[in-house]
Every structure is written in structure tokens, then in C-alpha cells.
């Protein structure tokens, strides 16, 4: 044995004079050492951010997270009153919940100390405070790289503005199969959208059908709550997308386009099989429906699946209401509406067009020949504007114009009289429909367009959809916002319109968020125009209802009071739905129609029992 090895053990003695590696007792017990910055310790959850979507619970590989409904959390739009509870008897601290959290509310702290002899201590609902109650230092937080959500919406092909502004060609091309599946895979199936949708459509379910490429199952889900999926797949106001959990940090899932993808890609025969299979045939009775808009058709569909005989009365030449005479064809082609309506008709629904209730047939007559009447006559008239000069022939109301234009687009009428320079007053979706239709007509007629929109709202307050604003701008619409029209300037000699005089609108809502416009009357200007279109809102027309019936009803601000199933308060045989009870929205109409069908079914069966 050499000398080196004999001395070797003593070499270790030099460590006597070095800093010890041992962690001091105080650093373990009194002030436990702080973990490193990225540490995956216990959870905290920022309740102000958390929307209760339950994605954390979905992703958890250990099934440690349960969502518990809290009585003290408000049940608001775009969230669920649920919060995650974590079982540290399961949790493996992988932080996948943090990485996938839609709102970014969940994080992990640097805390790591928790000992107890009571298992209950390991079951914990994370709040902002943390499990130990000591001051919190954040450990693991998600960053862009670790994010497990797909925040970017798949690109949807559009027709370019040059091509589209001269014709009524449909703008959106629709998803391909790959795009649709990719888009569908962004969904986390939290069901917040289902809650928000007025019709409570089975959105996560049909998105899953798209993802699984099982479209006839998707159609089945669609028809459970909505008999107008092709139409809604194009012009629904998609409140669901506003509530989508993914939209917390990214683009919402394109729910509307996915719906459209389903209906566009299922062959008619398969489609028909699904639609007709929903019939349950048990009811016995006859129901009259006034108006063939979304509410009327929806009620008609569900009533006939319940076995009722349904007559729908429509005063115009074609069924569909605003789908037919409101929505411009670049958003909703006619054959799409035809398709949805044809399936409803296949169920045996009789649609009497060109039959104006109140003129061609009275309400009393309807009441006597039917067991119940459902009215869904919508808001057919444009709200008037009370300023000097509006009675000029070149001041045109939005709804009649859109109807005329629709007839022109389908080739059954001449082009409406339009002039070279126009102003549209209003900034809602209808105003945009008018303006964009005008752009197209002007381009067809004059080869160029000059459309100016004037509205009280400023750019942030515009109630129309963001796509409308973007696409409208692309098509060349000019804006004069935050201005209140004061009078229509008319050439005294010719009687022609010369323009609109507007003054600046300084404030739209007061401190209480109530509509209360204030104007600066000194800041006036005249917007030159040959024609002025009014699109500042719509209103109902109840003249077809006999006075003695009207006197029993309660109508407030153009809305009829009903119970939740559309039964008109005071008139048990009368049901109402759509715009006239809820306000303008196609999907509201669908929901009301469905509810009314349930209400009418209940009402008729109760009556049958009595008699």
C-alpha cells in the first residue's frame, strides 16, 4: 500500500475550514428556505379572474380537481359560479392545470410545507390567500411556451373586397374539413357557451362531433334546440363566442362557422333522416302561427315534432321574415333559407304565404279554427326620426328598402331607386346591412360607391359586430360618428334632398349608464347626400290584434309580457315569441319558438284533460 492511500482519509479534514454544506436548523424549521422561482408548490386561484370553466379539472391527470358550485359567486354571463377544489391526496404538482387555465387565474406558489395527521387538511379550495395563509410568493406561472391552449382562430377564407363589393356573392367561404377539425380541437368543452346561448344549444357536443368528424351526430345535436341551423350558422349574433372561455386570453372558438360547417357538409338525404327522426308524435291539436320568422318557424318545427298540426301565416310572398327580407344575400344566400324551411315543411307544417293576418284573415277566425295561436310578428317597421324634412321621398326607411333590395337580389323585382351619394343614419347591424347593400347597388349601377354612415355612437360604442365594421370599412364605407342629425337639408326649389345637418354628440350615456345623449349645437356641419336612409331601430306592429284582445295584454315599450314559455299574460290561448317579447335577435326567436312549443304543448294537454 502506498503512502498516498494512508494519508488519503485525512484529506477530508480540510473541509473543517470550509463553509458547511449542511442547511441550518433554523432554515428548515423556523424560516423554511424559500423555493426556487419556478417552484411548483400549492395552488392559488385568483377568484376575480376565475370563470369556473373547469378546464383544470378536465386536464388533471390525477383527477384531483373537482369543481364545486359556490352559493356566494354570482352566476354571470361568460362564467360559471364554480371554483376548483384540489385534493392533495391526488395532486402530483404537474402544473398542467396552470398551463391550461383559460383565464390565467390559477398559479402555483413556492409553498411546500403541509404536514398533518388529519386527512381533511389536504382538501382545499384555492383562493388568493394560499393554503398556509402566509404571505405568498408565486412559483410556477404559465408563459407563452408552456400554454396548452390554442389561442389563435383558424383562418377563414373570405372573398376579397374588390370582388364582393360589386355583387351579392356570399363573403365567407366556410371551413374545409381540416380547418374545421383544427378549429374544433380548440374547444375545451366548458359549456359556458351553452348557458349563454338563448337557445341553449349543445355547442360543446356538436363541436365534438365536428372534431370526431361525425357530422350527422352534429346535425342531431343542432336540431335538438334549433331548427334553423343553416341560417344561424351564418347570421346568428353568436353571443356564445363572446362568452367562450378561450376568448379570455385569445380568439373565441368560431362556434358559428363550425355550425355552418356541419350543415353545409351533411348530404341532404342524411340530413333529412336526422331531422325527421326527431318526431315523437303524440300531441293532438291545431296551432296557428302568425309570422314566419325564426320564432314562428322554430315553434312550428317543435310543435310538429310533437305531433301538432301547424299553420303558419306570412303576409309576404315568401316565408322567412327577416331571414328573407332583412338579411342581405351576401350574408345569407336564399337557398340556405330555403333549405332550413324545406325541412320544416317536410314535417308537415303548412305555410300560408301572402296571407296577412288582420286583413286576409282575422285573429278571431284563427282562434276559432285553432286550439292555440302563437304570434311572432317581429319588428317590421323602422323607428321614425323626428327631425325636419324626414317626410321627403328621398328619406328612405331601412326595412322596406332591405325588403325591396332582397327581392331585387333574388331577381323578382327591379333595382330600388338609389342615388350616387347617400348617408345612412344609424350604426347597428341593420344600418350596416343597409349601407353595405347600398355599396353593392351603387357599384352595380354607377361603378363606384359613396356611402357615409352617421351615428350618435363613437367608434367604441358602435353596437354592430366587429366584422361588420371591418368589412364595411374595407368595402369603402365612410363614417361620421358621434353626431346627432338635426334636420334634413332640402333644396327648396327642386324639393330634392341636399344633405343632413348634424351636430356633435358629446355624450351618449350618463353616469348611470342610461341612454341620455348630449349635443354640442355649435359644432354643426352638413353631410351632403342625395338620399338619406334611416336605420336607427325597429318597432313592432300590433294592429292586427283586435282591440279587446290587446286590452287584456300587457305591452310595455313594444314588448308583450309573457311567462317563460311565451304564454301571454292575461290571454291563455295566445302565445308570443321573438322580437315582440325579447328584442331583436334571430337566436332569441329560435329559443322563444322552442319554449313556446313546450308551453303550447303543456297548455293543450292540460286543456284536453279538462274537457
Amino acid at each position: 500500500m502506498d503512502k498516498k492511500s494512508i494519508l488519503a482519509p485525512f484529506k477530508g479534514w480540510k473541509y473543517l475550514f470550509k463553509k458547511p454544506v449542511t442547511v441550518a436548523m433554523d432554515d428548515i424549521f423556523k424560516n423554511p428556505r424559500e423555493s426556487q422561482d419556478n417552484y411548483r408548490g400549492f395552488h392559488i386561484n385568483d377568484w376575480a379572474k376565475c370563470i369556473g370553466c373547469g378546464t383544470c379539472s378536465e386536464v388533471c391527470p390525477t383527477n384531483a380537481i373537482t369543481m364545486v358550485e359556490r352559493s356566494d359567486v354570482a352566476d354571470e354571463e361568460g362564467s360559471k359560479p364554480e371554483r376548483p377544489v384540489i385534493d392533495y391526496g391526488r395532486c402530483c404538482f404537474c402544473a398542467l392545470c396552470v398551463d391550461i387555465c383559460t383565464s390565467g387565474s390559477l398559479s402555483l406558489t413556492k409553498e411546500y410545507l403541509l404536514n398533518s395527521s388529519d386527512p381533511e387538511d389536504f382538501y382545499y379550495m384555492p383562493t388568493e390567500k394560499g393554503i398556509t395563509g402566509k404571505p405568498i410568493k408565486l412559483g410556477y406561472v404559465k408563459d407563452e411556451t408552456s400554454d396548452l391552449l390554442d389561442l389563435e382562430r383558424k383562418h377563414m377564407e373570405h372573398v376579397g373586397e374588390d370582388e364582393r363589393k360589386g355583387s351579392f356573392i356570399e363573403i365567407v367561404r366556410g371551413f374545409s374539413k381540416e380547418q374545421a377539425i383544427a378549429e374544433a380541437s380548440r374547444c375545451v368543452a366548458c359549456e359556458i357557451c351553452t348557458k349563454t346561448c338563448p337557445a341553449h344549444m349543445n355547442i360543446p357536443e356538436y363541436i365534438r362531433s365536428v372534431w370526431n368528424d361525425n357530422l350527422s351526430e352534429g346535425v342531431d345535436y343542432l336540431y335538438k334546440t334549433n331548427p334553423l341551423p343553416s341560417v344561424c350558422g351564418r347570421i346568428c349574433t353568436h353571443k356564445c363566442e363572446g362568452a367562450c372561455a378561450i376568448s379570455q386570453r385569445g380568439d373565441a372558438v368560431a362556434i358559428r362557422w363550425l355550425k355552418r360547417y356541419i350543415v353545409d357538409n351533411v348530404p341532404d338525404d342524411e340530413y333529412e333522416k336526422v331531422v325527421l327522426s326527431q318526431v315523437s308524435k303524440k300531441g293532438d291539436g291545431k296551432v296557428a302561427i302568425v309570422g314566419s320568422g325564426s320564432a314562428g318557424l322554430s315553434a312550428a318545427y317543435y310543435l310538429s315534432t310533437l305531433g301538432y298540426e301547424v299553420d303558419v301565416y306570412e303576409r309576404k310572398a315568401q316565408a322567412g321574415g327577416p331571414m328573407r327580407y332583412g338579411a342581405p344575400k351576401y350574408r345569407l344566400p336564399d337557398d340556405i333559407t330555403n333549405r332550413d324551411i324545406s325541412f320544416i315543411e317536410k314535417l308537415g307544417v303548412k305555410i300560408h304565404t301572402n296571407t296577412d293576418v288582420g286583413k286576409d284573415i282575422t285573429m278571431d277566425k284563427l282562434k276559432s279554427t285553432h286550439d292555440a295561436v302563437f304570434i311572432a310578428t317581429g319588428y317590421p317597421d323602422t323607428r321614425p326620426l323626428n327631425i325636419p324634412g324626414v317626410d321627403n321621398k328621398d328619406v328612405i326607411m331601412a326595412m322596406p328598402f332591405l325588403a325591396d333590395s332582397a327581392d331585387f337580389e333574388r331577381g323578382s323585382a327591379k333595382m330600388p331607386e338609389i342615388k350616387e351619394k347617400v348617408v345612412v343614419i344609424g350604426s347597428g347591424n341593420v344600418a350596416f346591412d343597409v349601407a353595405r347593400t347600398l355599396v353593392r347597388l351603387q357599384n352595380m349601377k354607377y361603378g363606384k360607391s359613396d356611402v357615409m354612415m352617421a351615428a350618435l355612437e363613437n367608434r367604441q360604442q358602435i353596437p354592430a359586430d366587429i366584422e361588420e365594421i371591418e368589412e364595411g370599412t374595407e368595402e369603402g364605407i365612410k363614417f361620421n360618428l358621434a353626431c346627432g342629425p338635426q334636420k334634413i337639408v332640402v333644396d327648396e326649389k327642386t324639393g330634392n334632398v341636399k344633405g343632413v345637418e348634424v351636430c356633435e354628440c358629446t355624450q351618449l350615456f350618463d353616469e348611470n349608464h342610461r341612454f341620455n345623449p348630449q349635443f354640442d349645437f355649435d359644432a354643426r356641419q352638413v353631410l351632403e347626400a342625395d338620399q338619406v336612409y334611416l336605420a336607427i331601430g325597429q318597432m313592432p306592429d300590433f294592429t292586427y290584434i283586435p282591440d279587446e284582445v290587446q286590452s287584456q295584454m300587457q305591452i310595455e315599450r313594444g314588448k308583450i309580457k309573457t311567462n317563460k314559455n311565451g304564454q301571454v299574460a292575461g290571454v291563455p290561448w295566445l302565445f308570443a315569441g321573438g322580437d315582440i317579447i325579447k328584442g331583436m335577435d334571430i337566436i332569441n326567436g329560435v329559443a322563444n319558438g322552442h319554449d313556446a312549443a313546450i308551453g303550447i304543448d303543456e297548455y293543450l294537454r292540460k286543456n284536453k284533460k279538462k274537457s
Binding site: N38, C92, S146, S185
Partner: protein, 368 residues
Amino acid sequence: MKEIKLFLGPQHPGMHGNASVHMYVEGDIIKRSYLLPGMLHRGFEKSMERRTWMNNIALIPRICVPEPDTNEMVYAMNIEALAKIKVPERAHWIRMIILELARLSAHLMAFGGIGGPTGLYTAMYWAQADRDRILTIFEEITGHRVYHMYIVAGGVRKDLPKGIENKILDFLNDLESRLPEYEDLVLNNPTVRARTVDNILLPAEVVWELGVTGIGMRSATGQEYDIRKVAPYARYEKVDFKVPTATYSDAQTRMTLKYQEMYQSINIIKQAIDMMPGGKVRAKVADGSALRWRVPAGQVYSAVEASRGEYGYYTVSDGNTMPYRVAVRGASFPQGLLGVEKYMPGHRIDDAPLWFDTMGICSPEIDR
């Protein structure tokens, strides 16, 4: 002499890990021996079929406790091969740093672990203290000391934290200066040498018969049979390192090789930190949220060089959100089961723990 049955483990101070050896001994000599595995059987291969591709990241590191990163790596490699994902360049280098740090930590643990059967506890104390510094580095990079869940399909989960390079380099320099002391303490220690030199032989024929890989294979065959060289992954083909080999494999040789490999690991990490480019660290596996990732159908096997040898996963996908089947090749499966049965007999009882330690056996990866 009468044959007596002895149990080595599962509860035995000489047994590292929860496994049991059934030994039939005559006097001091083992006549027959068998491993009784399964104490750590958790049914991983089944559980993985019940979880999505992403969720399995929480499960896989737990298959092998001392060196979890190799699991993450092979799992990610399989998904990347099936889904044809191009991993960002920087991620390759980060992965290499992580894998080599893990190798260092596993080697330190095994090298110190030799102190148990030889009674040289100082080695264990030193090695664990040095290993703890690696774990702290891991904690800073990945968020946890032991189960990192860091290498994911498509790259790594997060970029390296700022300034970690210097901490790693500090540690490596420190360790490098301390390694000669380990040599003096363990390899040149007369007591240890008395137990290890010319003891527990592993001839090349046995290597091929059992299918032993890793240090065992290299110490017997004299060839650079290292997957990092033979079928490079990450960016091992771009760094310059040697694979220590030998042609006579006794316990001492295998320990020496382990010791020399630590130098090589330090060397690789230093080069990697030097050569690592910037840029992104993670590519997308599939469209959509992690709940709905699908991996195209296919069957693929990937292997990496773990501290104990070839560590591989065989992954089968049927195109769904969850693996159809994952089979795990634990690096120590051949020597741990067949090796104990065939080649432990003939040794003395007190050499059994030493046999286990120097053959590089890790029971959780055998049991899965």
C-alpha cells in the same frame, strides 16, 4: 452443507430500492438466486393508455425515480417521430443539458451508493450533498427537484431561466475540482478495492447473452456502444465527447467508467451551454388545446442512453388522443432479472448488494 434460503430485501439496508432477491446459499456462497420484482409495479403501461398524450407527462417521470428525464425524452421522441414534429434547435440543446445533468445526478447517487455495501459512508454523504446542488438547479429550471416534467413532445416546457447558465457552470467547475477527491476516496480506497477488484465479473459473452447495455456493455466489450454515439439523438453528434470503455469488467472497472463518464457529462454540458443557440423552445404537437391533441397512427421505438444503459419506449398510436400502447424497456431489466438468476450465483452473500449496485439496477424501471 445444507442449503439455506435467504431473502435480500425488500426491507434491507443493502438493498437500494424496493425489490427482493431470493437466495439459496451454502455457507457464504450463493447457489441459486432469483429476483422477486413487482413491489413497485404500478401498472404504468395501463395507466398511460387512460391519459391523453399531454397528461402522460405527469406519469412518465415516475417510472424511474433516480433519472426521470430519460423517460420524458424517449416519450417525447416517440411522439415527435409519429407526428413528424420538428423540434426547435434550442430545445435540443436544452434537452441535452437536462439529460446530462440527470446523468450526473444518477451517477453521483450510484457512485455514492457504493458506500453502503462497502461501509464507506463518507462517499454517500459527499455524493448526496453534491447531488443536492443538481436538484436545486433542476428546481430552478423545471420547478421541481426530482420529477421535472420538463422535456415535452415538441421541445421543452419553458425556456431556461435567466442566468441559470452561470449557476450550472459554477457547479460544474466546483464538481470537477472535487471529482479527484472522489477518486481518492472511493476508487483508490484499499478497502473498496479489496471488495471490487477482480470481483463480480461481467464477461463480454454474458453481456451479449443477457442483453446488458450501458456501462456494463462498454466495460466488457471495449467498444463505444453508447446510443449517444451509435444512434445520436438531441444534438450529441455535434458535441465532442469520449465514451470511456474497457475490456475487462469487474466491479472496479465499472465504477471507474462511471467516474470517467461524469467528466464527460461535465464536458458535454459545458459545450452545450457554449454552443446553444437562441430562439424558440417548443413546437406545437397538434392543433387545438392539449385536451384534444391527436397523434397520427403508427408504431415506433425510441431509445436513449440512460445512466444504466439503453432506455426505450415503444409507443403505439391509433390516431387518437391517448396512446394505444406504451411499452417500457427499463435499462436494467436484463441484468436485473435474468442476470440475477444466472450470474449472481457463485458470489458471496456480502457481495450481493455490491453486485446490485455495480450492475446498475433500478427496481422501479423493472417493475413499471
